[in-house]
Amino acid sequence: MANTKTGKQNKVVSMNSRTWKDSADSFKEYLETDIDFNLVFIVLFLIGFGLLMVYSASSYIALRDHGSSAYFFKKQITADVLGLFCMVVTLFIPIKRIINLPHIKKMLYIVAIGVIFLVIPFGIESHGARRWIQVPFIGGNLQPAEITKLFMILFLAAMINAMGNAYISSWKGFGFCMGLTCVASGLLYTITDNLSSALIVFCIAFVMCFVASSDFKKYLFFVAAGLAAAAGIIAYVSSNDSASEGSFRLTRISSWLHPENSTETSAHQMLQGLYAIGNGGWFGRGLGQSVQKITVLPEPHNDMIFAVICEELGIIGAISLMIMFALMIYRMLLIARNTKDRFNFLVVTGVMAHFAIQVVLNIAVVTGSIPNTGVSLPFISYGGSSALFLLIEVGLVLNIDRVNRAESRRG
């Protein structure tokens, strides 16, 4: 019943009151509205916990390589503060108004794709790949892939919203969205050699299309086809060891299947992650007591930070963290439920998908459930760009929630 009521209200606001005064009134109203402190608390908790774990995991390496045990911790805290600032700024952006500007979809897509090309002239090589660009004046490094993820979410939400329900449910609409996504993913993969980001963007788009459409069949088909292909590759690699020699990706799969026999660093890394989990046991060695982080886990504050968490806080700590992530996504689901606007709903969906996919992929890699891909754990892993854009995404969700609350209060 409440749904019907707010739905009506929505129409009134978005369609009928287009005068500047009205919109100023509604913005004032918006500012007076509460935000979702549950979500804010969870996010702040995750950021704080992330900082703690980055400090714990990186202190030895930071001291060894940079002379100060707080080297990575300080950089991360800077990025987090900047991200929180951007999140607050995002709260004041009238998204809906901006999204209704002409040519906005084209511009979003151009930005999403364009930033990828920035690594060609401005890219910095690090960790054997060209994924970062130097930000002028600030001096920090930025990963364009993170910008692409954010803008692809916004672009797809706007695109699907414009398409209408029937069109997106059709093969044509689906094909159009996924086609544009594949271009972005392809560019991410080819230019920045970043398979995991490409995969994440693709999955986000897939989830958004799935949620937006009223169709099930073709998605089930694609999921089934994807799983079958994965099974096929695994079967191929495991039956034919020599086949993996040529390709770097296949080698990774092979070393995932048989980490003990592999000499590859990724297999070594995965095994050491497993050792860390085993060493941690149920309750962990205690905060700061990880021994794996000291020498054998390369960059333990990055993608393998979950292994350090397992070692220091045990399975209990790790599962608690997973519950926190699940709670965060659940809070976003509740916000999505209250969102009548299709665009806003799709933005929330995209953000949820983004978080969920990264959490799942990261933990799956650490537990050896899938081959090693470089996916960071949201808010926990060390990484400034990731934290910054994830917080902007949270800001978007909070913004949308506030819009919902403002509407429901008025209604």
Binding site: N165, N279, K340
Partner: protein
């Protein structure tokens, strides 16, 4: 409203359901996410449950730091004034960790590190190292250079500090034993195996091994009850420092004179050192503290495998004797460089063993006449003689079926000999007669009282056992008694002789000779103080007083012209003592151990000194004068250093001699020994005043030279050779008795004694 509602319903039914649908879809995805998270949690649990213990073990075994040894520092050995005789120096082993150098593929660490290594350590082959590091990326430990000093590595440490790309090089700490005084005190100190901080061999290093060594510390990890790896540092406990009674200055004086003796007489008559063995001990007569203990040849404990000191020594051979034991037999041959080049490492080792031994405590020999005071003191102490007896010496005494000669046999004997004269003139016949009144029972008893045949218990490793080298009442016959009375046919060590002699002089108190006065820990706190220990009263104070009188007469004028030790007196001092001229086995070779044992000053005994020259490199070895002169030269420097004032008047020659000596010493200490700069005009005016003064007091000096003074001195023997072919003493003109064989080869010898071999 209805219309509106209906309209909305009709056109937004799709929207409405679509919205619901998309929410359901989203909820479904959350469900999928939860399922995946549950699956991942199960996987985590499975990992811990199935492999937890294995993985824990792997992790624990991966830890390298669980066995880092922190080495202890071996305690120092210092002399009585705090001069360091042996210390431990921290040195560094250069260790490379290839895995760290190769951390990044772009070699950002490798090249700067190799450059810095090449710059600072020219001895490292960088090309070889580069090949090694790139081919052994997983290697974490390779020692490239050992025992570098801090000075050698400091340049690299600086570079490392300024360049964070220099990685993978660590320095492992270790201690190296250092002997700052070089060869000085070598046989007293001993050495440590490999100059490391444990494994002391010979001397103080071996005797005080447990005091000098500490306990290694450890930095290790262990599993506590929760199987958590804990890191604990157990600091090293450093070894204690031992403070010896040695005075490095006195030791230096003694060693200087032993070296001079060797330099003067090496290759003199035969190829080789100035004597087969040279030894000298200076001891505090009232405490048993050893002030100096030196022998020759010496070696450098910091380089103890160096074979250079062996050149000129007698060659030792390991021979299996009839009993199946390995015996080290000395050959008359002396070692040359050519021989060394041909010797096997076993043969070299046998000879090095002998070099490393402290001859003052491990070499046994027949002491000869220096044993006479012991015999006389024993006879006086047990009442066998009163001291007022007078003996007649006709040059020989018949004991059983043997004629045992006095050294004055050729000139018809000493004639009438008092007890004092028997010592001062060293009359064998009188001594044999005294021994006869003493008897075999008492002779053996008193030998034990003087610790002959027993160990003195000095705190040095390697003191010889002499139990089998002396007689006991059941084995000692009348001939043995007679020969024992003047120090033949039994063996003793230098330390036994001087410790016993000290007790004869100091009132009868036998102090255990010792070298260490206190032990302190690494912070300087005193752990133990070792006080002088009186073991027994050997003779009564009245006997001791008589012994002081007799020994003084041996050196000083009251002993008459025939006194044997006159050459031992340092100018300006009165001392007492006893000479010794002992034949070695086999008797017929005429090889002699000459010695002088004395104390100073004569009226207030403070130190005892014993100089032994074993088989000097002379044609005629029986000239005890050389031992006396060596003793005089040593005391001449030691007594002033110890702050003991001159009591005796000086003659012109003595002043001249001292002046030259003083000049020599002044030059040595003030001008670094560059004697060419010395001009007579630069002499201290104070000395000239002294010179004039003394000249006034002793105006009468012989102006007519006796005839013998014109005879040429035979360089080999040191005697003047007259036109009749006879030998005259170069200083006194006394007719030297040609090869006085006191004990000819017919007189039975103690079958346990063998001059040329030592059983180890």
């Amino acid at each position: 409203m209805a219309l509106k509602k209906k309209k909305k319903k009709s056109d937004s039914r799709g929207t409405f359901t679509a919205r619901q649908l998309r929410f359901y879809k989203l909820s479904m995805l959350l469900l999928v996410l939860l399922v995946i998270l549950v699956f991942l949690s199960i996987r985590l649990v499975k990992i811990v449950h199935d492999h937890g213990e294995d993985y824990q073990r792997i992790v624990l075994s991966n830890q390298r730091y669980d066995s880092i040894i922190i080495p202890f520092r071996r305690g120092d050995i210092v002399d009585s004034k705090g001069t360091i005789l042996a210390t431990s120096e921290k040195v560094y082993n250069l260790v490379v960790d290839a895995s760290v150098m190769m951390t990044y593929d772009d070699n950002r660490y490798l090249e700067p590190t190799l450059n810095a290594l090449g710059q600072c350590f020219p001895q490292i082959d960088i090309a070889e190292l580069r090949a090694y590091v790139t081919n052994n990326e997983s290697s974490q430990y390779r020692i490239l250079a050992k025992r570098l000093t801090y000075g050698e590595i400091s340049e690299f440490l600086n570079m490392q500090e300024n360049n964070s790309y220099i990685r993978g090089v660590t320095f492992e700490e270790e201690y190296r034993r250092v002997y700052p005084m070089g060869n000085s005190c070598s046989t007293v100190l001993g050495y440590t195996i490999g100059n490391s901080n444990s494994g002391g061999k010979y001397g103080l290093e071996e005797f005080y091994e447990s005091v000098l060594t500490g306990t290694d510390g450890r930095e290790y990890g262990f599993q506590n009850e929760d199987a958590t790896l804990e890191r604990t540092i157990k600091p090293a406990v450093d070894g204690y420092t031992i403070h010896t009674t040695i005075d490095a200055t006195i030791q230096g004086i003694v060693e200087k004179h032993l070296n001079e003796f060797n330099e003067t007489y090496k290759n003199n008559y035969r190829q080789g050192n100035g004597a087969e063995n040279l030894g000298c001990i200076i001891m505090d007569i009232n405490t048993g503290e050893i002030l100096a203990m030196a022998d020759f040849p010496t070696y450098n404990p910091g380089d103890y495998m160096n074979t250079d000191p062996l050149i000129g020594c007698n060659y030792y051979e390991a021979v299996e004797n009839a009993g199946g034991y390995i015996e080290y037999r000395k050959s008359p041959e002396t070692i040359t460089q050519e021989m060394l080049d041909q010797m096997s490492s076993d043969q070299i080792n046998v000879n090095l063993y002998n070099l490393w031994k402290n001859q003052c405590i491990s070499y046994t020999y027949e002491p000869g006449s220096t044993a006479k005071p012991f015999t006389v003191a024993a006879a006086l102490d047990c009442g066998a003689i009163t001291g007022n007896e007078v003996y007649t010496c006709n040059g020989a005494l018949q004991v059983s079926n043997y004629f045992i000669k006095c050294h004055t046999y050729d000139s018809g004997g000493d004639g009438v000999v008092t007890v004092q004269d028997s010592i001062a003139w060293s009359c064998n016949v009188a001594l044999m007669k005294i021994a006869q009144s003493l008897g075999t029972e008492n002779m053996c008893k008193y030998q034990r009282v003087f610790n002959l045949g027993l160990k003195t218990g000095i705190d040095l490793a390697g003191e010889a056992r002499t139990e089998t080298l002396v007689y006991n009442p059941s084995t000692m016959g009348p001939v043995d008694l007679a020969t024992n009375s003047f120090g033949q046919n039994f063996n003793a060590t230098m330390i036994q002789m001087i410790a016993g002699f000290s007790s004869l002089i100091n009132g009868g108190y036998y102090y255990e000779p010792h070298l260490v006065s206190s032990i302190t820990d690494s912070n300087g706190a005193v752990i133990q103080t070792i006080e002088p220990r009186v073991l027994k009263q050997t003779v009564s104070e009245s006997v001791s007083e008589r012994m002081r009188q007799y020994c003084r007469a041996t050196v000083m004028e009251e002993g008459g012209s025939r006194r044997s030790g006159r050459n031992a007196r340092p100018y300006g001092y009165a001392i007492g003592g006893k000479t010794g001229t002992a034949q070695t086995i086999p008797r017929e070779t005429g090889q002699i151990v000459i010695s002088f044992m004395g104390y100073a000053p004569a009226d207030d005994p403070q130190i005892a000194i014993y100089v032994v020259i074993d088989r000097p490199n002379f044609a005629k070895q029986d000239n005890v004068k050389y031992a006396c002169l060596l003793c005089r030269d040593i005391l001449q420097e030691v007594l002033p250093y110890m702050g003991i004032y001159m009591t005796e008047p000086l003659t012109d020659e003595e002043i001249k001699y001292l002046e030259e000596k003083q000049l020599e010493n002044t030059l040595r200490y003030t001008q670094g020994g560059d004697s060419q700069d010395a001009e007579p005009g630069t002499e201290d005016p104070y000395e000239e005043i002294e010179l004039t003064e003394i000249t006034d007091s002793t105006g009468e000096t012989a102006s007519v030279y006796p005839r013998w003074m014109s005879y040429p001195i035979d360089e080999r023997t040191g005697y003047r050779v007259g036109p009749d072919g006879k030998y005259y003493d170069a200083d006194t003109g006394e007719l030297a008795v040609e090869s006085t064989t006191i004990l000819d080869d017919t007189i039975p010898v103690n079958e346990n004694l063998d001059g040329s071999s030592q059983t180890n």
